[in-house]
């Protein structure tokens, strides 16, 4: 057949190359569908019929194509790389549907050797393949593909001797996509081999049940290794998000992660915010005894928290932490006072959220109401609350009052001023839903301000003489036009 020679001759020309890839792809898909790519019975050479010989030859060509395509994954042209990975995945699916060697013993014939070859090349230590790996995103949504990928990831990791940053990056890109379905999840999983239109009629032929226990074993072994790596800051952050979300509940010994999370939690800054969830899950579900958890949480309340990327996550978690009914009053008072103190420096969208949070706390802990209603205490010289004190027990919040909220009642934006109105009114009976406000932005506030209905449009009544010539002008002594 002409393909082989064509491939060699047109190696450097991308167009020809991509043409060749697509045509090869089409040919083999067709051959798979026709059933020509089937391993003939093993017999001595001279007994083979011509058609068997032809089949044998075809299989050899197919394998050759496969290896060539895998080599092309390291081609310098990005488009060629992408084309070959797509092509490989499609061939993989086709082969799975029409298995070459008739494995009657195995019911579900996933071409895992081919997949292993692909993965091994993708997770290389020399080339950053993250963009290529994103192309596998679609395939990873299929349960079967997901499982076999996990299996091979473990294999690859075991065989890998030297681990560098590129390898970690590549490995993580796939590891992030691994998702073990819940055991009692509804059986609505789609299968990679049946992803096409002929799914229904061949359903019973390919029965695949997700081997959850095995998958968990693989995942456990992978993470035990991964956790020992020296992670880059980016991967560190990613794993902090990934572990509590997808990994922790599949682990045999989740407490192995304790050191990891504790260290990260002590680092401070955004890393602490991220580690918070993991620590919480460990404390909450796996009975980790974590002294000074709230003390450290209190220390995270800094003005910079409002500008952190994971602000919403942080405050939702804090809402969870501060919903326990067994917290001492001084602690919650410290949090409430700290939040109101922070609100004086917070950007407008966060203030509303903070105020709602404070209201929720006041509703939850009735003995906190002394912060807004404390009639029997004489006038104070200074605020008993010390914002510099890192210990919530010593900051003196419970002797203070929420004067900050009273000041915020004079905020320039009516929305904020209204949210602070609770200070002089009765508290609402139902708690605010914090989820509505944690991700509030200036844009949303602006839109709401534009939509707001005002009955009359008031105007000024002193005629300006110029831009800086006005009746009660403040700017004229600082600014001029030119």
């Amino acid at each position: 057949m002409p393909e082989a020679s064509e491939r060699e001759s047109a190696d450097d020309k991308e167009e020809t190359l991509s043409g060749a890839i697509t045509s090869l792809h089409a040919i083999f898909i067709f051959l798979f569908q026709e059933g020509d790519l089937v391993q003939p019975k093993i017999m001595p050479e001279d007994l083979l019929s011509p058609s068997d010989k032809y089949k044998k030859w075809l299989i050899e060509r197919f394998k050759e194509t496969h290896t060539q395509l895998i080599i092309l994954l390291t081609h310098e042209e990005k488009s060629i790389q992408e084309l070959s990975i797509v092509c490989l995945l499609k061939l993989l699916a086709a082969e799975g549907k029409h298995p070459i060697s008739d494995k009657s013993g195995k019911k579900y014939a996933f071409p895992d050797q081919q997949l292993k070859a692909i993965l091994k090349n993708l997770i290389s230590e020399t080339q950053d393949n993250c963009s290529l790996l994103t192309l596998m995103l679609e395939a990873m949504t299929f349960a079967d593909f997901n499982y076999w990928t996990l299996k091979h990831l473990e294999n690859i990791l075991k065989q890998q001797k030297e681990i560098n940053a590129i390898f970690m990056n590549n490995f993580f890109a796939l590891l992030e996509l691994v998702d073990i379905p819940e055991e009692n999840a509804p059986e609505s999983q789609q299968l990679f081999l049946l992803s096409d239109e002929d799914a229904e009629n061949e359903e019973e032929h390919y029965s695949f049940t997700y081997p959850t226990t095995e998958a968990k074993k693989h995942l456990n072994s992978i993470w035990q290794r991964v956790i020992k790596w020296n992670l880059t800051p980016d991967l560190y952050r990613r794993s902090l998000v990934l572990i509590p979300d997808k990994v922790l509940h599949h682990m045999k010994q989740p407490l192995l992660f304790t050191d990891f999370f504790m260290e990260s939690y002590d680092l401070g800054g955004p890393i602490s915010l991220l580690a918070l969830q993991g620590v919480f899950i460990l404390v909450n579900k796996y009975n980790l005894d974590y002294p000074d958890f709230y003390k450290k949480l209190y220390r995270l309340y800094e003005p910079t928290v409002f500008h952190a990327k994971y602000r919403a996550r942080f405050f939702m978690l804090c809402d969870k932490f501060l919903s326990s009914s067994h917290l001492p009053g001084y602690l919650v008072a410290a949090f409430a006072k700290r939040m109101s103190w922070l609100a004086l420096q917070a950007p407008a969208p966060c203030i509303v959220m903070l105020l709602h949070f404070i209201v929720n706390l006041l509703i939850r802990y009735p003995n906190l109401r002394v912060l807004i209603h404390n009639p029997d205490v004489p006038e104070l010289e200074n605020d008993p609350f010390d914002p510099m004190e890192p210990d919530p027990a010593k900051c003196g919040a419970s002797n203070s009052s929420l004067w900050e909220v009273a000041s915020l009642k004079h905020h320039v934006l009516p929305e904020v001023a209204k949210a602070a109105g609770f200070i002089h009114k009765n508290l609402p009976i139902i708690e605010h839903n914090l989820g509505d406000k944690v991700e509030e932005t200036y844009e949303e506030m602006y839109e709401r301000a534009c939509k707001m209905k005002v009955k009359t449009t008031a105007t000024t009544f002193h005629k300006p003489e110029g831009l800086f010539k006005y009746q009660d002008d403040v700017m004229s002594d600082m600014w001029s036009l030119t």
């Binding site: 003005p303 910079t304 500008h307 103190w341 609100a343 004086l344 420096q345 950007p347 407008a348 912060l371 807004i372 209603h373 404390n374 009639p375 006038e379 104070l380 010289e381 200074n382 605020d383 914002p387 203070s400 004067w403 900050e404 009273a406 000041s407 004079h410 905020h411 320039v412 934006l413 009516p414 001023a417 200070i423 002089h424 200036y442 844009e443 602006y446 301000a449 707001m452 005002v454 009359t456 449009t457 008031a458 105007t459 000024t460 009544f461 005629k463 300006p464 003489e465 110029g466 831009l467 010539k469 002008d473 403040v474 700017m475 002594d477 600082m478 600014w479 001029s480 036009l481 030119t482």
Partner: protein, 873 residues
């Protein structure tokens, strides 16, 4: 006929119609009847429950239970039910042959009844029981075309639904008895009704036709009459003439006299005001406006009625006619002078209203203007002054209108004549001169509003600021909304053009209006006119303004890392505060604008000199806007603190209080740090044009000092402004820390001084804090119930409350009763079942006993026989 109604069982009353009642009422067993005792016997009230038949009803209930509950009880352990639907199977009386026949017939019928379910051909579609054939269909539609066909109410009442049947029948009975003894049968009676309704329909139809005919005839007549009258229609000239002749006028005045009965009396007008009074009035007006502003600031609703007298809008209304008339008259003069053709087209042709307006309008004003215009032809300067005078007088518009009113009512005609003569003489003498002086730069007196912005730009291009001022003044004046027409819309258009102009001249490559003059100078010129237009139509201009702001905000928002915009945005932020009150609690324009400004201050990067200036500009606009209302903006304080932060000198900046967008590391963290001491500094002003300048690498030392100086000044103002807030010390906490970190000695003396004043001011902030306490609400009073005394008792207790409450009470009562009834039923069901079970046990026990006895007797017999056998042996 016999009297209808219920008979009381008491024997004495039922004497009259005994025979009829005996048929209906079963003879009751007196031992079965239970009489209910009535507590209060009310005469004339019918009672349903005065007697009952307990035995009978109990038997009935038991029977019913046997039919229903017992059946269910019997099949309680069975899961399926067999229903026999064979024809006649449940009918025991039918003989088997008939059953078979019937079944056969049913099968046949089923076979032949219908070929197909969807075969519609065999069926006939009907409407109201009438077949829908071609002919019928048309008839049917004719039935309901008109409500004329409706039968009249009386007829319906009489006949339909039995209507007044009973009473009618009685009357009829009597009458018919007289006529013929035989009463009408039902069929006859219905026929009569049908005949009647048909007759009525025919009559109404006929009537309608007649009416139509009459209308069409009238129409024809009118057409004919109009064709005759074509030649004799009244022209305007005729009207004029007749007015002069006084015929119409006399008639009109007569009508008025008759109507008002106030002949000969002059209209009362306000008295002329002294300057003191005028000043006082102005003061009160301003005070009222200020009071309104404060109320809005607090977020209270300003009562509509109150604003009406004093509001800014009203001001315009009262001063509107002044300006309008002035120009109106001048236009008239212009026309008479044959001065510009352009003007003719411009003026709204008001026709009759014109004369009216001139009656109301100002004569003095007109006079003044004529004089002014006369001199204009000679010297332009004079003219400009004049206009400026008029401009100045705007504020005193109230007084003007008063004066005008007085003067207008007096000798109006004579003055007009004088005025005309004057202008005519002037016209002849100056015509030559005017032609010679046909200067290019002359500004026309009136303007049309250009259709496109380019045309507007052409008008103001190449003009000095003063000229642009005049142009705008005139343009606004001759499209004053009170002139009527669509002038309000035109004013809005001018406003939009002004906004566009502002945008253009403040752009980074500002459009140059005139060589040698910086385009931004024109901003000062345009602002007062924008104010004027906003006063005229607040709503629309606010909307137009908002459109611009929205556009600017969208522009700002598209970037991910926020940057301070250039002057073409910032200038709008400033102007908004001039046009609309920034102190309002909520405002259509100002509230979104505040969000915009807080967003700018809160998230924009500060890494170049331009950005520092722009940020400072926004900050000072914000400061100005909150000064009056003393409201709090965290972002403003953060920004100023941030500027101090990047000027401060410190080894480890992360320890100083800071907030994004200011970073503690990187080149921008020490942007304003002084490299060397700077002592030669003169306080200058920051320039708006700086905002448009391109980023300069090095920030000059002077600029750094200036920024710090301005910052401290602004913070001082803020400090005073927010001193009323309870948490003010916490707010300025970080400011004082940063002030300590500033290298004070490197700054010139004047800056040092302002720093120390700021420190002092912060230290002197009110210290004492009263712990928060909610105001004790008034204790809630107990509900007072007045005794519900009914003056007239109507036998039933009256219930009070709203409709819903009463409805609810009724429903609750019903629910209660139903619940009671249901409970009782359930109790009886249980009792019934209990009895049933007991019966069953008794039965089975008896059975068992019988069997035991049987066995025992058998055994006894056996034993007996056995003994006998023994004995025998």
């Amino acid at each position: 006929m016999a009297k209808k109604g219920k008979f009381k069982p008491k024997g004495g009353e039922g004497r009259g119609g005994g025979g009829a009642s005996k048929d209906k009422e079963k003879k009751l067993n007196p031992f079965e009847v239970h009489m209910n005792r009535i507590k209060y016997d009310v005469v004339g009230r019918k009672s349903k429950n005065d007697r009952g038949l307990p035995g009978v009803s109990r038997a009935k209930a038991i029977k019913k239970r046997e039919r229903t509950l017992l059946q269910e009880y019997k099949v309680r352990h069975k899961s399926n039910v067999f229903i026999d639907r064979r024809i006649g199977e449940n009918n025991a009386t039918m003989d088997p042959e008939k059953k078979m026949l019937l079944r056969l017939a049913a099968v046949k019928k089923k076979q032949f009844s219908k070929k197909s379910l969807f075969n519609l051909n065999d069926e006939e579609l009907t409407h109201g029981g009438v077949a829908l054939t071609e002919g019928n269909f048309n008839d049917a539609s004719a039935f309901s075309d008109d409500d004329d066909d409706m039968l009249d109410a009386q007829f319906v009442k009489d006949t339909h639904f039995g209507g007044d049947f009973l009473t009618k029948r009685k009357e009829e009975d009597e009458s018919t008895k007289k006529d013929d003894d035989k009463p009408k049968s039902r069929k006859e009676w219905i026929e009569e009704i049908i005949a009647e309704s048909k007759k009525k329909k025919a009559e109404s139809k006929k009537e309608k036709e007649e009416q139509e005919e009459a209308v069409s005839k009238l129409n024809d007549d009118y057409q004919k009459f109009m064709s005759i009258m074509v030649g004799h229609a009244m022209t305007d000239a005729d009207k004029e003439k007749s007015k002069k002749d006084g015929e119409f006028r006399d008639y009109d005045s007569l009508v008025r006299e008759l109507g008002l009965e106030r002949t000969g009396k002059a209209k009362a007008v306000n008295k002329m005001k002294t300057p003191e009074e005028i000043a006082k009035e102005k003061k009160t007006r301003l005070m009222a406006l200020e009071a309104d502003r404060i109320r809005r600031m607090k977020g209270e609703d300003v009562a509509e009625v109150k604003t009406k007298g004093f509001s800014a809008d009203d001001l315009n209304d009262s001063f509107a006619p002044v300006e309008d008339n002035r120009f109106h008259v001048s236009y008239k003069d212009g026309k008479m002078l044959g001065h510009s053709t352009e003007e003719v087209g411009l003026q709204p042709d008001t026709g009759d209203t014109q004369s009216e307006e001139s009656e109301d309008g100002s004569e003095i004003e007109a006079d003044e203007d004529v004089a002014g215009e006369g001199s204009e032809k000679e010297e332009e300067d004079v003219e400009e002054e004049d206009v400026e005078e008029a401009e100045d007088s705007d504020n005193e518009s109230d007084t003007y209108s008063d004066i005008l009113h007085e003067s207008s009512s007096e000798d109006e005609e004579s003055e007009q004549v004088v005025e005309k003569n004057k202008s005519k003489s002037k016209k002849t003498s100056e015509k030559k001169r005017e032609l010679m002086e046909a200067a290019k730069r002359e500004i026309p007196y009136t303007f049309t509003i250009p259709q496109e912005y380019e045309a507007f730009w052409a008008l103001i291009e190449e003009r000095t600021p003063g000229e642009v001022n005049t142009i705008m003044e005139r343009m606004v004046a001759c499209h004053h909304p009170s002139l009527g027409g669509d002038n309000k819309a035109k004013c809005d258009t001018i406003f939009k053009y002004l906004l566009q102009t502002l945008h253009l001249i403040c752009d980074t490559e500002g459009e140059i209006i005139m060589e040698g003059v910086h385009p931004m100078v024109y901003v000062d010129v345009l602002v007062p006119h924008m104010y004027e237009i906003v006063q005229l139509s607040a709503e629309n201009s606010a909307n137009a303004f908002m459109q611009v702001i929205e556009e600017k905000y969208a522009d700002f928002n598209t970037r991910k890392s926020k940057r301070y915009p250039t002057a073409d945005t910032l200038v709008f932020l400033k102007i908004a505060g001039l046009l609309f009150p920034a102190s309002d609690y909520q405002h259509l324009v100002m509230t979104p604008l505040f969000v915009f400004m807080t967003h700018l201050l809160g998230q924009s990067q500060v890494s170049t000199q331009r950005e520092v200036s722009a940020g400072l500009f926004v900050a000072s606009v914000t400061l100005e806007n909150v000064m009056a209302s003393k409201r709090f903006i965290p972002e403003l304080c953060n920004f100023l603190n941030g500027l101090l932060f990047i000027s401060a000198k410190s080894k480890d900046k992360t320890k100083l209080p800071h907030q994004p967008p200011f970073k503690p590391v990187g080149p921008s963290s020490s942007l304003l740090e002084l490299k060397e001491e700077c002592q030669d500094y003169e306080p200058t002003k920051l320039k708006l044009t700086d905002v448009n300048e391109k980023a300069v690498e090095d920030v000059s030392e002077k600029f750094k000092v200036l920024v710090v100086h301005t910052c401290t000044k602004m913070l001082l103002k803020l400090c005073k402004c927010w001193s009323g807030l309870q948490a003010v010390r916490s707010i300025f906490n970080s400011t004082s820390v940063l002030l300590e970190a500033l290298p004070a000695s490197s700054y010139p003396a004047i800056v040092q001084e302002s720093m120390s004043t700021l420190k002092e001011a912060i230290a002197n902030l009110p210290k004492h804090l009263q712990p928060l306490a909610k105001q004790e609400g008034r204790p809630k009073a107990l509900n007072m119930y007045e005794p519900a005394v009914e003056t007239i008792f109507e036998g039933v207790k009256k219930r009070f409350g709203t409709k819903e409450q009463l409805e609810r009470q009724k429903l609750l009562y019903k629910v209660k009763r139903e619940a009671k009834g249901a409970r009782r039923e359930i109790q009886r069901d249980r009792a019934f079942l209990g009895r049933q079970k007991l019966q069953e046990t008794l039965q089975s026990d008896a059975e068992r006993k019988r069997k035991v006895n049987q066995i025992m007797s058998g055994l006894a017999l056996q034993e007996n026989e056995h003994k006998k056998m023994k004995k025998k042996k």
